[in-house]
Assembly symmetry: C2
Amino acid sequence: MEARLSDLVVRRASMVFGYDQPGPLAVVIRGGLVERVVPDLGPEGASFGEAPELDAAGRAVVPGFVDAHTHLVFAGDRGDEFAARLAGRRYEAGGIMRTVGTTRSASSAALLRSLAERAAACLAGGTTTVEVKSGYGLDTATELRLLEVVASANADPSVAVELVPTFLGAHLDAGPGYIDRVIDEMLPAVAQAGLATCCDAFCDPGALTLDQSRRVLSAAQRYGMAIRIHAEELAHTGAARLAAELGCLSADHLVHATPEDAQALAGAGVVAVLLPATSFSLRSAYAPARMLLDAGVTLALASDCNPGTSYTSSMPFVIALACSAYGVTVAQAVRAATEGGARALGRHDIGHLRPGARGDLVVLRGSDWVDLAYRPGMPAVDSVVKDGRVVYRVGPPGQKPGSLQSVDE
Amino acid sequence: MEARLSDLVVRRASMVFGYDQPGPLAVVIRGGLVERVVPDLGPEGASFGEAPELDAAGRAVVPGFVDAHTHLVFAGDRGDEFAARLAGRRYEAGGIMRTVGTTRSASSAALLRSLAERAAACLAGGTTTVEVKSGYGLDTATELRLLEVVASANADPSVAVELVPTFLGAHLDAGPGYIDRVIDEMLPAVAQAGLATCCDAFCDPGALTLDQSRRVLSAAQRYGMAIRIHAEELAHTGAARLAAELGCLSADHLVHATPEDAQALAGAGVVAVLLPATSFSLRSAYAPARMLLDAGVTLALASDCNPGTSYTSSMPFVIALACSAYGVTVAQAVRAATEGGARALGRHDIGHLRPGARGDLVVLRGSDWVDLAYRPGMPAVDSVVKDGRVVYRVGPPGQKPGSLQSVDE
């Protein structure tokens, strides 16, 4: 995504997330940034100048979703493994290494093409910023190649969503000497080439030990990288406490987090990135979201999009699921899917629509953002604006024409 | 929906649900009915005559979904009640009677308009037949008016989905003498006008007693109507056993069904209509689907679309949720959402693609129908065919053009 900064006025929103005023409201974007959100007095009272307009036509507006945890760059899928798991059969060929195999043998052009397609699907679901982890290379050359593919997609003007790369060479312990190579070869190469400013580690039984995670993340910090960690997903390992100790931006999954973990995360300002779609797909336990909230932890919601355990990038689905499975309110879920995600990425310019924020927003289909959870599974997104440009709009559907007015971009 | 029976050949399907042959396959529809499903040998080997063609382009084909339990004709929504429930607040004004109030005061034209919009949303989710219950009238005039609105929608050629009306005057006990009026006034009027051939009763604490349900359903049988029952949703009442005793087409909800209930249903051939989206929205228990399956009960999956407890009509969402929450396989879920739904309506001409069936089918987005559950929340439907006509097709999306070839309808 190459920023093209535009002026735009989004007219006649029924409500704008983060603002209490009753609608209709207008969101005024200048030079790609939110200038102000004001009552929309209609044509006679309007004084928005010559900026292009998007008519929200009584629909609700929320910030663009910030999906802060995905594994979006890979080749192949594992639908057969998913089906076998549901049918109660063991699936011998399954697991991350299967995707590593297909990914290593895919060309960069093919990886770029599939990443761009997945990014377009993110956008159609209202996501304007999506984090993308490497981690299906597990050798120096392929890990670097995956991050280069993310950089290429980001530079492609047809990819409208912003991709935020994260280095996850530490996705698992891929054999003797592997963690040393992550630290001694991959990290310096990634840092030097500027391919990622953040490093993640998967600390869980079957992946990295707590000690290996500490080594990788501490090394990343020496290279000036921000750090994050997959924590307490399959078992309680102490990774959440490590996140607090090292000052991670986020601890992710947290299915097995304890109240003591929550206190540590809250005290250290570590964001809890919760991934309910993974529990949904694995038919496993859901993270203790309300306990974390009650402890004062900042929540983020993300899709975890990956071919093994959560092959969805739909943030409206994730929001609905968080309300049902976690029992958080719709406002808490929307905040976690926007500003919470931004915080997990160390970002303050996205995830909200206060003056000065990037002009990234979603015009929903409904007049109230409660529909994101009240109407689960229903199409939720009408239009998506990135940096003040309309980058996605539901076309005239096959069956019924939409009522959104066209605008010139 | 007015049947317009057409010829169509759906070409190059990767798989067709119910058929074991490897793709590519062609579904040949003549005069609106499935004639055969055969290997698609490509242009050189094709001998499909002059019929219009739809290129499935390597996507999977399933029968059109049969959503056998909805309350789709109503006015107003109750998103505020949904949000309040999530926030842990009591909502005094809630409940069915609130929708009864808004529905009674809505004009028939307004009810028809909103029903047609909801029917279009069903179609976009791959549903080609949807049952619609009355029950937000609760007086003779309004109950009849609601069924007339369903009949009007069915006669409207722009409504492509088939609507199957069910009389649910017995939605609750609306005061002294009400059940008598259902039996003595409404049932004969509905039967005489031919507005519904099936009668339902809501047997649960707060709605009808077992005895009231028995009276209503027995009376309906005397008018020659088929019968169904809302059973064991909020508590165990004996309604499932009543369904078996009276010979209901289906018993619906069954959250609290016991193994003895399952045996009775299986023995009497009563279909179990399960409504997981209701449990999802209410954050309540899920029905014991595997226990019912293991007892030999035929399962149907339906949306229960209504503004109070399940405001979704997305059958792909319902299928994904059934796999996650019930632990049924994707094949079991798809069968329940198609042929199971048809059986709950007493229909044999829909819900499958065997020769002689109606030419109602969905071309999915993915090459495998496992994606319905493997990719939850992602857009699932590419095209919908009803009686051999292409009635819905994803247009060129805002972001990326689809690869489906156009056909003349």
